[in-house]
Symmetry: C2
Subunit: 205 residues, 2 copies
DNA sequence: TTATGCCTAACGTTCGTTCGTTAGTCAATA
DNA sequence: TATTGACTAACGAACGAACGTTAGGCATAA
């Protein structure tokens, strides 16, 4: 018989449901139905409902730490930036669009993001995670990028924290829009292109 | 005997609870406890739980239509802009800070905003409201402002939709941050000041 | 044999909702 | 002025359904 992976299926279904309905509004029965087992069987894998949420969050967190674009980049490391010499407006626009497509469509990332959004006012731990992942890490990443582009002579010198906020915030807002209305992705991608082009224009040295 | 306003107290408490826990995760008993009556008494005022949500949303919507800064402004109307001649970077920064303080602290507005945020993936009607109120109306307002500032000769000519997105998105992101971590409001207000100053600088004609 | 994974059944609690009752208000009527 | 009846808003009690959780049984695999 195949090795059972029910535990992973439960976590998968839990993330699915929590990301749309939230933790409290998702019932053990719904979750069991989604997995295709009886609800009592869930307790062969987890101590209780809270344990499922904790494990889901842990998994999301680990996936983020392992795969996030934003925490792994180090714009002060020559090794990281050695293939970043052709950072024209067009290329950066394409880069950003690619990163957006990835974080919009990767199932774990997008559901994790929605979960944090939904639970941010009820769960203090998740509120902190939301600030770190979708604000501070993003801001830091783009601050590094701005410093690099200034150092390169592509952009003029200015407060990099503000530059990073002005560059990244429209993207953050548009990602949220796509999470809500996925059919607007093409429209948003065109806006992103225009945004990046115009940003490079106005900050051009 | 005093005229009873239990119905309004229920709606008040419902908005309170829905904005933090969401609709499904808020129980009729919690709501009754918050108001200080028995849960059966709620049914003297509303047909059922859904009716309470509908009325809350209706109320929030009406309050928004009546008081929103963003839908009432018409930057093409001379009557509206006649006292807007002194729109220097400093003055706009102060204006924005004032508007932010208002929408951050007005109880109805802030709770309504949180409710939309929490319910945006579950409730299609509220998803549409979220897009309209916190994206499209805001963008339109600032597009009008940008057109005005270009017409005045304060800012250089550029795609006003992108300008408005670049101007408003950091503000949107920071409002969300303050909703989650209110103690960072002062820090955010300083960022807003810097953002507006730098925006006027880079787009200066 | 032991351990695992899923099952059925049942637990006590809470859910949203309905019912009938009661006390108080108000206007019309006698 | 006093009596009546309609109306309202609150109540306690109870409903069936769903909640999260536990216990015990029964296969299969190690």
């Amino acid at each position: 018989m195949e090795k059972s992976n029910t535990r992973e299926e439960i976590l998968e279904a839990a993330l699915d449901l929590f990301a749309v309905n939230g933790y409290e509004a998702t019932s053990i029965s719904q979750l069991a139905d989604a997995v295709g087992i009886r609800k009592a069987s869930l307790y062969s894998h987890f101590a209780n409902k809270q344990d499922i949420l904790d494990t889901v969050v842990e998994t999301v967190l680990k996936g983020y730490a392992d795969h996030s674009i934003f925490v792994r980049a180090d714009w002060d490391d020559p090794e990281f930036t050695k293939d970043k010499t052709g950072m024209t407006a067009e290329n950066v626009a394409k880069l950003i669009q690619g990163q957006m497509r990835y974080i919009l469509h990767d199932p774990h990332i997008s559901k994790g993001r929605k979960l944090l959004m939904i639970e941010q006012f009820r769960n203090e731990e998740l509120a902190g995670l939301q600030t770190k992942q979708n604000y501070e890490d993003v801001l830091n990443y783009f601050m590094g990028m701005m410093r690099f582009l200034i150092r390169q002579g592509t952009l003029k010198n200015a407060d990099t924290e503000i530059m990073a906020a002005q560059f990244s915030s429209p993207i953050t807002v548009w990602i949220n829009l796509c999470d809500r209305e996925p059919e607007r992705e093409d429209e948003v991608m065109e806006l992103v292109r225009k945004h990046v082009m115009q940003f490079f224009e106005i900050y051009r040295k």
